[in-house]
Amino acid sequence: MMIQDRKTSPVPCAGGSPSANGLSRRGFLQTVAATGGGLLLSVSLPLRRGAAAPAGTVEFAPSAFVRIGNDGQIVLTMPYVEMGQGTYTSISMLIAEELEVNLAQVRLEPAPPNKKLFGNPFLAGEQATGGSTAMRATWTSMREAGATARTMLVSAAAKRWNVDPASCLARNGEVVHASSGRSVGYGEIAADAALIPMPDSVALKQPKDFRLIGLQAKRLDAPAKVNGTAVFGIDARPPGVKVATLAQSPVFGGRLKSVNATAASAVNGVRQIVQLDDAVAVVADHMGAARKGLAALAIEWNDGPNAKLSTQDIVDDLARAMLGSGEVAQNIGDCDTAMAGAVTRVDATYQLPFLAHATMEPMNCTVHVREDSCEVWIGSQVAERTQAAAARVTGLPLDKVVVHNHLLGGGFGRRLEVDGVTRAVQIARHVQGLVKVVWTREEDIQHDMYRPSWCDRLSAGLDGKGTPIAWTHHFAGSSVIARFLPVAFNKGFDPDSTNGAIDLVYDFANLRVEYSRVEPPGIPTAFWRSVGPSHTVFVVESFVDELAAAVQQDPVVFRRVLLDKAPRAKAVLDLVARKSGWGRQLPPRAGRGVSLQFVFGTYMAQVAEVDVASDGTVRVRRVVCAVDCGTVINPDTVEAQIQGAIMFGVTAALYGEISIKDGRVQQANFDSYRILRMNEAPAVEVHIVSSQEPPGGIGEPGTSAIVPAIGNAIFAATGKRLRKMPIDTNALRQPT
């Protein structure tokens, strides 16, 4: 999800005139004395990389805070949440680098909900963590904040000692005057520093002087996650809390008809049965009793208009939409004329299923509704939307809703949604006191908001030398953006759905990409790790492979000649070919497949090696990944994110499918919605290209890149082209 355009968003952004004391000319930093002593810096995250600030039009609106206390502790308040991606550590590194402190001196606090203060500039000002945006949004501003604070601390110490600031230096959380041997800790000088006028400009370190950025740093959140003390949303236990679990209408859009709760109410520990229009909840002393009570309920549902809905109906809708034309997302040259002159023409249709997030921490939300206020305990990617959802259900004003945000047991886009908050507050309104609503795994999978299902039609024309001269791509599916962020959905153009289908790395002289928005009846869709590219990159990179095969060229060589205008893409392709041993002989029914992409601001190429057993079972044995994500902040996090994103993608390729029958999701738990396991995990090698470009996103690219690499490897191994995911092992069975 790369939304770097918020033309119509009213949310305050970077810039502004120096209207307040201490506001720098750069306009995104402000310094004041901290409450309780010390120095407080307010940072307004910039609109986007390199964007000019509209002069004198917007008030200063900070979105992060750095507090240097009298005790020398540095506290960073950030809008980004930790869901495994290492953001807590990496953002702390940016501040610590320029502030000249050790990482251990930085403590990170999640921001309270406040869209005005904590909006993400890459997500149209939404207070959200997603779309691999955190490092891109903070890269310059957080370093400038650190450098500014450092400069002020040095000035304050120099003033106290009556020496030239240039003769002092900052080191390890102290200001040192070497020639006199004096030193003073930041905590001791922070209050003085708050009185120093903020410098108009500060010099940022040269990459060669980095002592944290680019070097491996230990995750700050790790120790609590190995001894059971880390507190996730589901672990919140405010005193007196009851536990509830629920059944929602199994058919999308269905309604509750009747409930016989006699047996459930008799279960030891069950306290209350709550009936809603489309759900029933059992409130109990503990989840064991709640689940037992739920199983004892006799529920009848009115299935409603989607009672007969099936996956095939949805696929048919998508296919029908492609009979006409769609909104043009990108048009280069003249495809029709070029196609008419093609020597070789290739046509294909592709199809992708709905996918569930299946975060390991099932959906949950703890709520206390009082007459005049509401408290919410949760792990959410969107604290402000959580607050708004609770306010909407209770009818309370926003400032009467308090949100306690926690660690997330996996996000992947699921916790960008607040359906679980709405549901929990609906239930809590009927409960005296506190209630923690915990979804069973079955509810979590059957009432997820799904990665959209897609259909694609592609055609390409190639000349006599095998060079592509025309590329057309029309696809249909749900637009998550149109619901989630309507301001970013513009006349059929959707920056997420089309990401990875347009602005290709390849130099195509004639290209036309069309998108048809088709919403599946009743089925909610949402962002899912690698979002739009989870679909587009699979289709584009599989089809490029088809073109190479059609003109009998090597897939790497075929791609390479199309990359003269994309040197960074060419470099990762060359690197992955070299490191993977591309071209080296493999045993029968083993194959290598390549993929190449530029999404989330990051260039990535992958080579997957697969074995296809005679029964059609696919084993992904090894994955080699070359990545250029610009400046690397924590290389170990880059590697970890790519490893994990690849496992996420291998899961999708091998097993990922949510199917609908009679209006119901057919999968329910990890037996029917399988997740890759330890014994199936491929070896992964990550090779990082050294770069001083601004950082790209890293949480998601690995997922979109692996799926086509696997499909292309299966083609190399078997000659079978898979145009539908997940992999159909029957199609790969060896004839006996």
């Binding site: 190995v226 795994r441 496992m647």
Partner: protein, 156 residues
């Protein structure tokens, strides 16, 4: 009905139905939230604890089946030799991401190492394939188990 269970060396009296899974007794009755709920069907391993040193899925272990067995959870696994080594290896190899499944992973790994100090890759597969990690930390889990196994070679 009241049951007396031994958790991490302490005896607790709990008043629940006999078929109540241990998981909910730990989390909701005793407030020990380090043990996690993932699936409720022993499919994911997030709820793994030790019963007399052997890995068990607490989500399907009914409270009336435990009797005198000693229950060990993530909160106390660091007091065992294998558990402490596994936790340190997890930090040394920077395993965790979201961290939600890691209590269960560590419990499975420490049960493996206490019964088999030098596991092969296939031993690791057998012991660990019941634990799902959605963040995909499997490669580092494997490395960390080997690292923890090596760190024990000087002991015992």
């Amino acid at each position: 009905m009241t049951f007396a269970i031994k958790v991490n060396g302490a005896v607790h009296q709990v008043d629940v139905d006999g078929d109540t899974p241990l998981l909910w007794v730990l989390r909701d009755v005793l407030g020990m939230t380090g043990t996690k709920f993932g699936c409720g069907m022993a499919l994911c391993g997030a709820c793994t604890v030790h019963l007399d040193g052997v890995a068990a899925r607490s989500c399907i272990t009914s409270i009336d089946s435990i009797a005198d067995s000693k229950i060990t959870t993530i909160e106390a696994i660091g007091t065992t030799s294998a558990g402490a080594r596994v936790q340190q290896a997890w930090l040394d190899r920077e395993v965790v991401q979201c961290g939600y499944c890691q209590s269960g992973q560590i419990m499975s790994a420490s049960a493996l190492l206490s019964s088999n100090p030098t596991p092969t890759d296939s031993d690791i597969d057998d012991a660990m394939s019941g634990n799902i990690c959605r963040c995909g930390t499997y490669l580092r889990i494997r490395e960390a188990i080997k690292h923890a196994a090596q760190s024990s070679s000087g002991e015992d």
